[in-house]
Symmetry: C2
Subunit: 327 residues, 2 copies
């Protein structure tokens, strides 16, 4: 790395893994590490692990970073930078921004993990050059980020973009959030797995392939197994993915009509497990959205995949610390 | 009106009526006229009627207006100002902005009627002082406007805010837009009327009061009749309004989770016909929205009512022509 290269550190803190990378201002990953989160060890242990790894990576560089950006799977207080609530980490009110900043003696910018991924796709992925885009990440849960008129929407209390919790079936199944019929409760990985387990238990013969992939244990059927079986032509798995696709189309149509993005970018584990969903959703949305909203719309897969979060967090820090963005 | 008062002309062009007013920069209506649209006479006749009335109103003033703002019930091309498609007027590609501007020798700012109403509520109604708000107007159709981070969202092709066409029941009834299960297809005035007519035909005894208010003709039952009967305690009407309220709650929850507004402002004929809906929707949304999105949220009725569109169009013109807004 040349001495004059400007760079930041990106961190993507999720419930199961932590990605940490040095990223230059063109969005290129210079070096990276992946750690297991082990959230059960508590916030202090997770924070210490991030600090140790950042220090280790910094030693590979011959210049100082401008700062660190971190995306956390949880709600972030926009003023204090405190992680208010992170269900997958089982954290409440953790002052992560202050902790990291004091230990590392660096400015730290903190945001939600999905919003960080949207920053990544916007500046260095499928959203480059676009002022109106919507990212929908379909993983175990469903989340997203919205850029409108060249601004990342944050909302009144910094939670804008909870796109998994739009209601698409008001009589539908209950969601982890307590409401019913959320997009996530029909098409998130946990919902696909739940539906598959119920179907396999109700009809073990129809679920032969799914059961086989789960070593005979219905409770071992995951969304990943369902997408694999669907790609192999399994009838039940295809049906389950059809149901999820219909919900994703219904949700995406509503979002396109409400936000009128130029690009809808689809990512996350479920989409990566079954990339043909992008075309399927694209056709469905173009059929069903209002003509004026559908006309300019492109529907694209995520370009950065798993790197979107870590690159996005680093780039957000770069932009804030060089005065290009207020967040 | 004092000579130094700055003022603009506001026009709200709908399918049945046209409101025209002189509005000062504090949002006060100085003088107004209401005309029947008579869209069947064609765009030239409607345009001529607006021009004549504006000239007449201008004669009451002793100074020149800064310009004219007009909100049209249709899609507006953001560059050319052409009315691309206005279903309730049966217009396609009408160069209204140019026509009015040339005839009146005034700068003309054109926007969608619901967005104009959102400008009105934002600057002079229930949205004053708020940077993140969502207006949901429940009339014959359902439309809205979204302000996020202090910006009115316009979207990629100027159609952001089509909040009536979010899917809330993916197996639900067909909508005028061709999709199914749209919020409007469950809770818009036309849907309430359709459901009421079907119910009355299926069970004339249960529909006695509705039929009576419609002079015995099931096809004469309107949403206005349903809200009146519901307020009188009629069982069937209350049931119909319950169904509409559940759909409005489901839709509003999704919008609150996606946009995270500080205020949700409810207006339009259906809400005005049954003002208790505001509290009902408010309670439902606070029960069902994500805690972090619901916590800062206020749910309020429109303050300007029918005047929101005409005041909003005038104020938008004032802001654009004095350099306060780019639109």
């Amino acid at each position: 790395m040349k001495k004059e290269t400007r760079w930041t550190i990106g961190v993507d803190l999720g419930g199961t893994k932590i990605d940490i990378a040095l990223v230059d201002e063109s969005g290129r990953v210079l070096i990276r590490r992946r750690l297991a989160t082990r959230a059960s060890e508590g916030p202090a242990a997770v924070e210490a692990k991030i600090i140790d790894t950042v220090r280790e990576l910094q030693q590979t560089a011959d210049s100082r970073p401008l700062g660190l950006g971190i995306g956390v799977a949880g709600q972030i207080d926009p003023v204090s930078g405190v992680v208010r609530y992170a269900p997958n980490l089982n954290w409440r009110d953790v002052p992560l921004q202050t902790g990291l900043s004091e230990a590392l003696e660096l400015p730290v910018i903190i945001t939600n993990d999905v919003r960080a991924a949207t920053w990544g796709e916007w500046f260095h992925g499928a959203g480059q050059g676009c002022d109106d885009l919507l990212c929908l990440f379909v993983g175990t849960g469903i989340g997203g980020g919205v850029v409108s008129g060249g601004q990342m929407l944050t909302g009144c209390s910094n939670t804008a973009g909870e796109l998994g919790h739009i209601t698409v079936d008001l009589h539908g199944p209950y969601c982890h959030c307590g409401n019913r019929g959320c997009l996530e409760a029909l098409a998130g990985g946990w919902a696909i797995a739940r539906n598959a387990r119920e179907a396999v238990k109700a009809d073990p013969a129809g679920g032969t392939l799914l059961l086989q992939k789960a070593d005979g244990n219905p409770e071992g059927v995951t969304a990943k197994i369902v997408t694999q079986a669907a790609r192999e032509g399994d009838h039940l798995a295809l049906h389950l993915m059809d149901e999820a696709a219909l919900a994703l189309i219904a949700g995406a149509v509503g979002l396109v009509n409400a936000f009128n993005p130029c690009r809808l970018i689809l990512g996350g584990g479920v989409i990566e497990g079954m990339p043909e969903l992008v075309d399927r959703i694209g056709k469905g949305v173009h059929q069903r959205a209002l003509a004026a909203a559908g006309a300019p719309l492109q529907i694209l897969p995520s370009q950065l995949g798993n790197d979107a979060g870590v690159i996005g967090a680093a780039i957000l820090a770069m932009r804030v610390l060089t005065g290009k963005d207020p967040e």
